[in-house]
């Protein structure tokens, strides 16, 4: 049968960010997908040579507009590891709270995009309506909405007083109620199930071999979550990785839905156990050494590699983002799928192209 190449992206209604795929199709079946990336490369890694290592937190936060806080946090943790800085416990808890709020708004964004990708417009709008409530909490506690700007080397730049903690807990009750309603539609609605069930199934073995991370890996039954390493305050909070065994698009959606509620639980635990004290330590001197730091972003594990030579600028900075790790899996999922399922399969890994290209 004759093969045709259909270009998909970089501008496409389901793509929030530019990535291009050449879809080789036979009739309505995709035989192969050839990706090309590089549309939003900004050279942020090179900027370490120009920006002071303390100023670079702001650049690190701007690697991605959705998981911005966790990028900043990972960078700070990496520099703190090189400089052997002990971050105050309260700052660790605050980072955990803001990291989980970041995860909630990222997952809600994804749920909305997924609903939009399968043509469920009202569900898309209502997912984002709930997300707005989360962003309001973030704005009230950090001052920013998507770029939090509250993390710095040695701790955090803002504290949450008792009133802010109480307000957050009160808001979380309403958010949890709304989240349960919205996620029930994703998990139980027949039209959603028919669109996602059995589409793009990936076994645990395949996901592991392809180097998947985050919800894509957990949806295939592999209980890998970097938060279990206990960075920030996660070591003192109770959590178990959310896993599913089916490995299909529905499982990936279900993992993210359950992680929303898990994040609410983690925020409640962190706010409940929040220790008193300072939120930052004084940072003096310049870093010297090399470190690899891993954290769990909403899309999966991010790896930061920093090399410092004792000057105020870092020598080398490298990021391995979760979407980069999940791209091979996406290409594998696209092989043999129906052309109509391509938008769902592309969205199912929650692609973040800005992160990937930096």
């Amino acid at each position: 049968m004759a093969r045709t190449i259909i270009p998909f992206g970089p501008q496409h209604p389901v793509l929030p960010e530019p990535v291009h795929l050449d879809l080789v199709v036979e009739d309505e079946k995709v035989v192969e997908a050839r990706p090309s990336i590089g549309f939003v490369h900004r050279g942020l890694e090179k900027l370490v040579e120009k920006k002071d290592y303390q100023e670079f937190v702001y650049v690190a936060e701007r690697i991605c507009g959705i998981c911005s806080f966790i990028h900043g946090q990972t960078y700070c943790q990496a520099v703190e590891a090189i400089m052997d800085l002990a971050v105050p416990p309260r700052a660790r808890y605050l980072r955990t709270v803001w990291g989980e709020l970041s995860r909630i708004h990222s997952h809600l964004l994804w749920l909305g995009l997924m609903a939009d990708g399968m043509g469920f417009e009202s569900l898309f709008m209502h997912s984002w309506r709930v997300r707005e409530q989360v962003l309001n909490i973030v704005e009230a506690t950090t001052g920013g909405r998507v770029i939090f700007g509250s993390c710095k080397i040695g701790g955090v730049r803002r504290d949450m007083d008792a009133g802010a903690i109480q307000n957050t807990l009160t808001e979380l009750v309403a958010i949890e109620k709304d989240l349960r309603e919205v996620t029930q539609v994703f998990l139980n609605d027949n039209s959603v199930k028919r669109r996602l069930r059995g589409i793009g199934a990936l076994s645990g073995q395949e996901a592991h071999e392809l180097g998947c991370v985050g919800p894509v890996l957990r949806a295939s039954g592999v209980a890998q979550d970097i938060r279990k390493l206990g960075y920030a305050a996660y070591g003192e909070l109770e959590m178990e990785p959310v896993t599913r065994t089916e490995g299909d698009s529905y499982a990936r959606c279900a993992v993210r839905c359950e992680e929303l509620l898990q994040s609410i639980s983690l925020i409640r635990q962190a706010l409940g156990k929040m220790p008193e004290g300072e939120v930052a330590v004084k940072v003096t001197g310049n870093p010297k050494g090399e470190v690899i730091m891993r954290t769990e972003q909403p899309r999966g594990e991010v790896v930061y590699c920093l090399k410092a030579n004792g000057s105020k600028n870092l020598e080398r900075f490298r990021v391995r983002t979760p979407t980069f790790a999940n791209l091979p899996a996406m290409l594998k999922l696209l092989q043999g799928c129906d052309l109509a399922d391509v938008p769902v399969l592309v969205l199912t890994i929650d692609p973040c192209i800005s992160c990937t290209e930096r």
């Binding site: 920006k51 002071d52 100023e55 702001y58 469920f120 009202s122 569900l123 209502h126 309506r129 707005e132 309001n136 704005e139 009230a140 506690t141 001052g143 920013g144 770029i147 700007g149 730049r157 803002r158 802010a164 309603e181 919205v182 029930q184 539609v185 139980n188 609605d189 027949n190 199930k193």
Partner: protein, 113 residues
């Protein structure tokens, strides 16, 4: 129950007040603690240049001899570093946004104490 779940929610949400506002006809409620636009109070400034040294984007330029303070709004990321460092509290962040910036030229303030 898998049936009519979305329909029930749609009816519920249709009967509640819209979460959106008719901006710009209705102003957005400012959230306390939000990092909005940078506000400069000339009367307090001693032109010490601490803010300009700390600014991560180079949006501030202070000339001590000429007693001149220049703020490039298009460079400012409202991070609040200058507000934290200012010894005279001449810089603050409002909770809202100001009027749109239409020129690349910075806002210049000058004057004596």
């Amino acid at each position: 129950m898998p049936y009519f779940q979305m329909s029930r929610l749609a009816i519920k949400w249709a009967l509640t007040k819209p979460p959106t506002t008719q901006y710009p006809f209705a102003a957005r409620n400012a959230i306390a603690g939000s990092r909005g636009q940078l506000v400069f109070t000339r009367e307090n400034c001693v032109y010490c240049t601490a803010c300009a040294k700390k600014c991560p984007t180079g949006a501030l330029k202070v000339e001590r001899a000429q007693k001149r303070f220049v703020l490039e709004r298009l460079r400012c990321i409202s991070c609040g570093c200058c507000v934290e460092i200012c010894p005279k509290n001449s810089l603050s962040l409002s909770t809202g946004h100001g009027s749109p910036v239409t020129t690349k030229a910075g806002e210049t303030y000058s004057g004596t104490l």
